[in-house]
Amino acid sequence: MSAQRESIEIFRTVPLCFQGDMITAKEGEPVAAAILATHPDFTGKSPVSGRRRSPYCMMGLCFECLMEIDGIPNQRACVASVRMNMTVRKQIGTRSFSAGSK
């Protein structure tokens, strides 16, 4: 238990841009965890129902945590690890066909 705790402690704190605001996150932690810790709100809107969604399973299965990460839409924020200087946005609705090609 304490060894685990220590291994978390050694992660660097890095800046992350969320919806234009700078927040701090631990390098290597799931992006979803960093967002939930600072903005416990919705992370996207379903393209089918238009309803607000946020991370649910935190293990890559439910696709409820989709966000735009570094310009790439529909990324599962729970399996993306925080790196230095990431830009993360809420995923609102469907992405365009050509979005990923830029």
Partner: protein, 381 residues
């Protein structure tokens, strides 16, 4: 899925063994005639083509070597809109039937030349009912909403005969519509024995016995051992198909692209399906999935940037010659076998035309060529 565990009468007018799309299409159709129907189904662990298919209502590529099969598929296509509306009304679930047609893309001049002669020959064999026209690459690009076609696409074709549905929505809608019309459904009732006595059948599962004057075997891959109990010898082999599904993206192309690509109303793109014979193995394989992905990107290069979210494999029940079987037992009249390779395409025909055959002994002309007799003839020659 919901099951019944009632202790009341287990006697019905018709028992259907198998609760895939074939069993439910027939069951739904029978209920419109006011008879009592029970579907006995296996478990969620059974093979189920119904839960893993591509959702095409395919006509223009059916029956090149067997025109009655083309006509059967076309008749079903024409019955689809009314079935889709009914299922929607009675279940509240929209199966999203779309009957605008489908596009074929030809990769290289040879493929295009082959397609030209294939269409000419098909028209000769099937007559005016057939439709497929060659289109230039520009026309195809226009039809597909300028998604951008790959360099190797040199042209292709369009047929207005085809359509598509959302296969899972259709299945759950059909299931609910069936229940709303008073149909009975029993899951985890794997039928072991069919016994006939006094113009009635008694159908036995490990836990229960059901009876009815009519029995329909529509058990997919589980059909042969049951059919042999009513004196019908036939094979149903597993033909594996693999499918990939992408993330949801904006609606980009309105027509399915034959044998490869289709976009669901909710935005996911289905890529598939393969066709392989690998026994009862229903796992995916990297080699086949890689091939599907390459084929898709070759046709629509922008797909390169779209993520794959899920992959799966399922087994199609395939008869010896690939054509459907509609056969009543001569030894045990009142017992029927129905098996087919394209249960989505034929769903509307099954709902509308099979009840008369099962209840009134009137077998529509369209169904006549598809008894088991042809298979025996084939074995003999």
């Amino acid at each position: 899925m919901r099951g019944e565990s009632d202790t009341c009468s287990r006697t019905f007018d018709v028992l259907i063994i198998g609760g895939g799309v074939v069993g439910f299409s027939i069951g739904y159709g029978l209920l419109q005639r006011g008879v009592s129907v029970a579907i006995l189904d296996g478990t969620d662990r059974d093979f189920s083509a119904t839960r893993g298919n591509f959702g095409m209502v395919s006509v223009s590529n059916k029956g090149f070597n067997n025109i009655p099969y083309f006509r059967l598929s076309l008749a079903s296509r024409n019955l689809w809109p009314s079935l889709a509306d009914e299922v929607h009304d009675r279940s509240g679930i929209n199966p999203h039937f779309e009957g605008r047609g489908k596009v074929y893309l030809s990769m290289g001049e040879q493929e295009l030349a082959d397609r030209v002669s294939h269409i000419q020959e098909f028209l000769l064999r099937a007559g005016d009912e057939y439709h497929q026209e060659i289109l230039s690459k520009d026309d195809l690009d226009h039809l597909l909403g300028h998604v951008g076609l790959g360099d190797r696409v040199v042209g292709g074709a369009f047929s207005r005969l085809d359509g598509s549905v959302e296969p899972l929505q259709f299945y759950s809608g059909l299931f609910r519509a069936y229940l709303s019309q008073g149909g009975h459904y029993f899951s985890s009732q794997i039928v072991r024995k069919i016994v006939s006595k006094n113009a009635s059948f008694s159908v036995q599962t490990p836990s229960d016995t059901f009876s009815a004057p009519k029995v329909v075997i529509a058990s997919g891959l589980g059909t042969p051992p049951l059919a042999s109990q009513i004196g019908l010898r036939l094979n149903v082999r597993p033909e594996r198909g693999q499918i990939m599904v992408t993330e949801r993206i904006e609606r980009v192309f309105n027509y399915p692209i034959s044998g490869f690509l289709r976009q669901n109303v909710e935005g996911t793109i289905m890529i598939g399906s393969s066709s392989e014979y690998n026994g009862f193995d229903d796992h995916t394989s990297v080699g086949v999935l890689t091939g599907l992905a390459k084929g898709a990107v070759e046709r629509l290069p922008l797909l390169r940037f779209v993520q794959i979210n899920r992959c799966w494999a399922a087994l199609r029940p395939r008869t010896d010659d690939g054509y459907p079987i509609y056969q009543e037992s001569q030894q045990r009249p009142g017992a029927f076998v129905v098996s087919c390779h394209s249960g989505i395409t034929l769903a509307a025909l099954h709902a509308r035309l099979l009840p008369r055959w099962i209840l009134d002994d009137v077998k529509d002309n369209l169904l006549q060529p598809f008894g088991t007799g042809r298979l025996q003839d084939e074995c003999a020659t």
